[in-house]
């Protein structure tokens, strides 16, 4: 069985760890998170020029490195661990994935090299309903002339106020649910788009509101078939879900590691508090969650690779993504919450970084559906679908 990193993958993971430990320090995170932009453009350029991270899983024919989702997930895990403030997730895990899944070859040739070279992007699909399924799409698209007229607003769009390229979902007027949805790729400075930063409790991840006031887009901006956008969008969301779960595992691990470091130096009643069994057992429970979460994202990453390559196991993507997101959301929240508790009073201060993890745990938990949402998705698969034997077969 080869369910472990190859030497090359381990090298990519270790390089990411070294790079981020040096450049996404507590001071760097705290400097970036109070700006409206939300990230340091110089660091973005280094990630692109020195590390080629934006190009990582984009195929070579579209200007990328042609690596896989496993490499991407290994890197995202480190980004979560070091609280990286960056439009990387929005650009690579939302916009690039959207193009990989839904774009024509010509569209890929046009846009993917731009993203690989450092253009920022994101995916806009969520309205104000707070849902993460097809019903969330509220913006409408009406055929007009050679193209479409888009009207409505998006909320909770990652880095939506700074992204240069937008992939957006819109629905035919009067359509409901999964029907009538189309995907478009457009420049963010297209006339009629106004964008507003939404200040957030977790300051390490940016969100924005986008208002489309009669935005006219050409037919060439359409990704795939008009009205048939839900299936590709669902796949894009699943890929993005795997990616955010990787960020969560990194955060869950770092919550444990930084708490351990504190426990080993804090002395009460004449001994380090790491020596108390009540404290040790909590730390052990945190490690169980970090390790089990890691197993879940590595598996989901392998499935994502299959899905992007059109392999047979790709059909498991929705399930693997929900398993990873359900578990890792709860694991990160548990670890960050325990982290504050085990830090005692200083855990409640702004000075110690554990509070930043606690906030990122919550924002990533909510984003793309929390544990309960993904468990209900799995419950539908297990309980509402075909007979049990067939389900078992499908999941085996």
């Amino acid at each position: 069985m080869e369910f472990r990193f190859t030497e090359e993958q381990e090298m990519i993971r270790a390089t990411a760890e070294t790079f981020l430990a040096e450049l996404s320090t507590s001071a760097a995170v705290r400097a970036a998170m109070v700006t409206e932009r939300g990230y340091d453009p110089a660091l973005w350029q280094r990630m692109c020029a020195d590390m080629c991270w934006q190009a990582m899983h984009i195929p070579e024919e579209y200007g990328g490195l042609g690596l896989g989702y496993v490499e991407l997930v290994a890197t995202l895990e480190q980004m979560g661990r070091y609280l990286l403030c960056s439009p990387f997730y929005a650009t690579v895990c939302l916009a690039a994935n959207a193009l990989l899944v839904a774009a024509t070859d010509a569209q890929k040739r046009h846009y993917l090299p731009q993203l690989a070279a450092g253009t920022t992007g994101t995916l806009a699909f969520t309205g104000s309903s707070g849902r993460w399924d097809a019903a969330t799409v509220e913006v409408t698209c009406t055929p007009e002339g050679d193209g479409y007229r888009l009207r409505g607003s998006y909320r909770y769009v990652p880095d939506g106020h700074t992204a240069q390229l937008l992939v957006c979902a819109a629905r035919a007027p009067g359509s409901e649910g999964e029907a009538g949805i189309s995907l478009f790729v457009i420049a963010a400075d297209t006339p009629g788009i106004s964008r507003q930063w939404l200040p957030t409790m977790d300051q390490t991840r940016r969100q924005a509101q986008l208002v489309f006031d009669d935005v006219l887009v050409p037919a060439a901006a359409l990704l795939g078939e008009a009205g048939e956008g839900w299936l590709p969008l669902a796949r894009i969301i699943d890929l993005a879900t795997v990616a955010i779960a990787a960020d969560q595992v990194g955060g869950a691990q770092q919550s444990l590691d930084m708490t351990l470091a504190y426990l080993q130096e804090r002395v009460q009643f004449g001994r380090v508090i790491a020596s108390y069994q009540a404290v040790k057992h909590k730390a052990a429970d945190m490690m169980v969650r970090a390790e089990a979460g890691r197993s879940a994202i590595y598996y989901a990453a392998c499935i994502a690779d299959e899905a992007l390559a059109g392999g047979p196991l790709g059909r498991e993507l929705a399930e693997a993504a929900s398993i990873a997101k359900a578990y890792c959301s709860d694991a990160y929240f548990f670890n960050a919450g325990c982290g504050i508790q085990l830090h005692g009073g200083v855990g409640f201060t702004a000075e110690y970084d554990i509070q930043l993890y606690f906030k990122r745990a919550k924002s990533t938990e909510t984003f793309l559906g929390n544990g309960a949402w993904h468990r209900e998705r799995l419950a539908r698969l297990l309980l509402d679908g075909p007979a049990p034997a067939a389900v078992t077969e499908a999941l085996a």
Binding site: R4, K280, M287, S295, Y298, A326, E376, A379, P388
Partner: protein, 396 residues
């Protein structure tokens, strides 16, 4: 990192499945799915005959070296065998203590004479073993063994006196391996010996322990000047702890996927009932069923990591260290979920006086999962101390 297995292993899987399909039928149809944890007392005669059938098929001593009559199967093949065995409903293995504990210990630490004398009977499915470790005052604190071994120089034999407890299958076994104190002045893990005793002798009395299930998988075993030959000690007097602990390294997780197949069978039963009795429409039950599914899938991913070569240096990897705590807790929760899915019907027995159905037995028996083989509390100590490097508990 990849998920597929080699063509040779796939062929091996088919070979195992075909053999099981051709043999686990007819006279053995009645033992399918029987004799597992919580049911070890059932169908003993048939399951002993089944061990001999397994031997005829060349399936005993699967991982043992060929020079000792084993099959010399790789870790992957052992995993595959266990998985297919469980999938086919293979009965609980009465021979497993001999095959996975006694045999490997003798192969690693035994003399040529001991190997020649004891290994063939284990392989043939004729000699069954039990394990004499725990004592009333040596549970989690296993090194606190009080059973004494005295060498009688006149008769050239060892005389064992003391009491063991929680001894599975003691009433069915021909042999028992026992750790006992060779140096009466010693304490803790020093001064112990590892002995091989025939069970059929006047100095040994087996008394079943009636459990909260009403059945008796476990026994107390009383030794009153029980004897074994001077050559029936493995290693030297004083080496018993090292020999006993050497056993723990042999398991290596090969049975984990088979164990998970049993869990899957149980989970499928819970799913089936939930769909039939309407529990599947209860949102709280749906959440818990999905959570159990997430837990079981991640258990599998975790094992895949474990089996892909963590701990090449002989030490346990982090994912291996969480395994016992993780599965035991998951399984115990499944037992409770099963009762809650059954609703009021969960109270109704199959028959008086106390015939539990399969899920009731699961519910009650899984209370032992988080106790035997190292309680959850001991597991958390081990994780905190060995994996996280937190200070060791003071030992009296």
């Amino acid at each position: 990192m990849k998920l597929s297995c080699s063509a040779a292993d796939e062929q091996f899987r088919q070979e195992v499945a075909a053999w099981l399909a051709a043999n686990l039928c007819g006279e053995f149809e009645s033992v399918r799915y029987r004799g597992g944890p919580g049911d070890e007392h059932s169908c003993v005669g048939e399951r002993k005959a089944w061990e001999r059938r397994l031997h005829q098929g060349g399936w005993t001593g699967l991982g043992w070296p060929r020079e000792y009559g084993g099959r010399g199967a790789s870790i992957e093949q052992q995993v595959i065998f266990n998985e297919e065995y469980a999938r086919a409903g293979g009965p609980g293995r009465i021979g497993h203590i001999g095959e996975t504990l006694a045999g490997p210990t003798l192969i690693a630490f035994g003399t040529q004479e001991q190997k020649a004398r004891y290994l063939p009977g284990i392989l043939r499915g004729e000699d069954f073993w039990c394990q004499g470790y725990s004592e009333p005052s040596a549970g989690s604190d296993l090194a606190n063994v009080k059973t004494r071994a005295r060498f009688d120089p006149d008769r050239r034999q060892w005389c064992i006196t003391g009491q063991k407890v929680w001894t599975s299958l003691a009433h069915e076994a021909q042999y028992c391996f026992v750790i006992a104190r060779t140096d009466p002045a010693s304490v803790g893990h020093r001064g112990l010996g590892f002995f091989l005793l025939a069970m059929d002798q006047a100095g040994i009395e087996v008394r079943p322990i009636e459990q909260l299930t009403g059945t008796s998988e476990f026994n107390e075993v009383f030794f009153d000047e029980a004897v074994c030959g001077e050559n029936d000690i493995v290693g030297a007097p004083g080496d018993g702890w090292q020999v006993a602990m050497g056993l723990l390294g042999f398991e290596r997780g090969v049975s984990t996927l088979g164990q998970q197949m049993l869990f899957q069978n149980e989970f499928d039963e819970v799913l089936r009932i939930a769909r039939e009795n309407g529990a599947a429409t209860d949102p709280a039950i749906r959440q818990r069923i999905a959570d159990a599914h997430v837990g079981l899938r991640i258990m599998r991913f975790n094992s895949m990591r474990m089996l892909s070569g963590g701990g090449d240096d002989g030490s346990l990897s982090r994912e291996a260290m969480i395994y016992k705590l993780y599965w035991a807790t998951w399984h115990r929760n499944l037992g409770k979920l099963a009762m809650d899915v059954l609703g009021p019907e969960s109270e109704i027995l199959d028959d008086a006086p106390y015939a539990l159905n399969r899920l009731q037995s699961l519910y009650l028996f899984t209370r032992s999962d988080t106790i035997y083989g190292g309680t959850n509390q001991i597991q958390r100590n081990i994780i905190a101390e060995r994996a996280l490097g937190m200070p060791r508990e003071p030992r009296g």
